[in-house]
Subunit: 214 residues, 2 copies
DNA sequence: TATAAAAGTGAGTAATCACTCACCTGCGAA
DNA sequence: TTCGCAGGTGAGTGATTACTCACTTTTATA
C-alpha cells in the first residue's frame, strides 16, 4: 500500500467502502488542489491524473465542490480530534502536571499528524478563505469547540501559577502563532532547507515557556 | 479622494499616469481577487465592477496575470521597503540602543502599513503559493535581501547581549511568526472581534522580549 | 447461473472563459 | 483645420469549463 493510500485510509474512516477508482480520484484531487488550488484545477485534469473517465468523478461526487468538501471536512475533523475527545481535561491533568510537558506532548503529536498530511493541510488553509461552506465548518468546530477547550486548559494552568495572567485568548493566539509559524516555515516555506527538527521544536517551546511564564 | 484611491495612489509611484478607468480596474481587481481569489475571478466580472468594457482591461494589461502582477509586485516592494533603504543599520543603531525599542518601532510601522493595505496583503499571501512568477519575486527579494538584513540586525543585538544566542534564522522565524500571527488573527481571522490593539501589541512584544532575552 | 444494482464510460452540452479586433472618440501638436 | 494616436468599446473567437446521460461492464447475491 502506497503512502498516498495510507493517507487516504487514515482520512476516511470508511476507506474500505471506497472503490479503487474513487481512491485514485481523491488522491489526484489532493495532489492538484494542493499544487494549483481548487479553482485552477479542472475536473478533466483530475480524471486524467486519476486514470478514470470524467463521468466517474461525478458518479461519486455531485459537484466539484462536493469533492473538495469530501476531502477537507475529514481533515479538519482529524486535526481537531484531540480536542474533542471526552474528558480531555481529566486525562490531561493526570498525565501532565506541568504546562511545559503538556504543550510539548501536544505539539509533537500535532506536528506528526500535519507532517503526514501536508497536502491536505495546504488545501485546508488555502481554500478556507474562499469557500463559505468550509469557513462555516471551520468556525463552528474550531471557533466554538476547540477554542473553548483551549481556554479551559489555559485557565487551568493559570490557576496553577504556571502561565502568566493574561486573557486566555491572547495566550492561545500566541501559542498558535508560534506553533503554526514553525510548521509553515518548516514544511511549506522552506521544506528543502536543513532542519534540526528536535532542536527547533525545543527552542520553540522554550520561547513559549519563557514568554508565558509568570 | 476615496480611501481606495489613496491606497492606489500610494501603491503606484506613477499613479498620476494612470487613467481614471485604469484606476477603477485596479480597484475592482483588488476587491475581487481578495474576496474570491485570482483564479475564481473573471475578467468580465472585473470589467463590470469597474464600469468599463472588457477590452479596456486588455488595453492596459496584456493578460489577466499581468494585472495580478501589476497589483502585487508594488505591494511586495512597499512591504519590504524599510529593509532596502541604504544604511539601515546606521540609522537603526543610532536611534535604537535597545532591541526592544527597535522591534516596537518596527512592528508599529509595518502594522500600520498592512492595516491600510489589507486586501493587498491578502492577495499577496493567497496567490504567492500558486503563481511561480510571484514566488520568484518573493524569494529573490525576501529570501535574499530582507533575510540578510534581518540576520545582521539580530546578530548586532546578539553581540550587545540583548538577544539569546541562537541561530539568527531561528530568531527571525520566531519573531516573524509572532508578528504575522497577530496581524493575521487581528485583521483576517477575527477582524470583527473587539481588540485592544495597544495592549495586544504590547503583550506580543513582551512575549518576544521574554522569549528572546538571554 | 441469472439478475439487479452499482461502478464506470466518453461523447455531448450549454455556459463561460481569456483574449482579439475593427471601429469609435477626444485631444494635443503641426 | 488636419492629423496621429492613446484610450476606450463590445461583439465575436475558439478553447475550456463543470456537468449530463444513455450506455456498457463489474460485482454481489440468491
Amino acid at each position: 500500500m502506497s503512502q498516498q493510500d495510507k493517507m487516504i485510509e487514515e482520512l476516511f474512516h470508511n476507506a474500505d467502502e471506497l472503490t479503487e477508482k474513487q481512491k485514485k480520484i481523491v488522491a489526484a484531487a489532493i495532489d492538484s488542489f494542493a499544487e494549483k488550488g481548487f479553482a485552477a484545477t479542472s475536473t478533466s485534469e483530475i480524471a486524467k491524473k486519476a486514470g478514470v473517465a470524467e463521468g466517474t468523478i461525478f458518479r461519486h461526487y455531485k459537484t466539484k465542490k462536493d469533492l473538495l468538501v469530501a476531502i477537507v471536512a475529514p481533515t479538519m475533523a482529524k486535526l481537531i480530534a484531540p480536542f474533542v475527545i471526552k474528558d480531555l481535561n481529566k486525562v490531561l491533568h493526570q498525565d501532565f502536571e506541568r504546562f511545559e510537558d503538556f504543550i510539548k506532548a501536544f505539539i509533537e503529536n500535532r506536528i506528526k499528524f500535519l507532517k503526514n498530511n501536508m497536502p491536505l493541510f495546504r488545501i485546508l488553509i488555502q481554500e478556507i478563505p474562499f469557500q463559505p461552506e468550509l469557513r462555516e465548518q471551520f468556525k463552528e468546530h474550531i471557533a466554538q469547540k476547540v477554542f473553548e477547550r483551549l481556554r479551559q486548559i489555559v485557565e487551568h494552568y493559570q490557576a496553577k501559577g504556571q502561565i502568566i495572567e493574561m486573557p486566555s485568548d491572547t495566550v492561545i493566539r500566541m501559542a498558535a502563532s508560534t506553533i503554526f509559524g514553525y510548521i509553515i516555515a518548516r514544511y511549506l516555506l522552506a521544506p528543502e532547507a536543513e532542519w534540526d527538527d528536535d532542536t527547533e521544536i525545543e527552542r520553540t517551546i522554550q520561547l513559549l515557556m519563557n514568554g508565558l511564564s509568570p
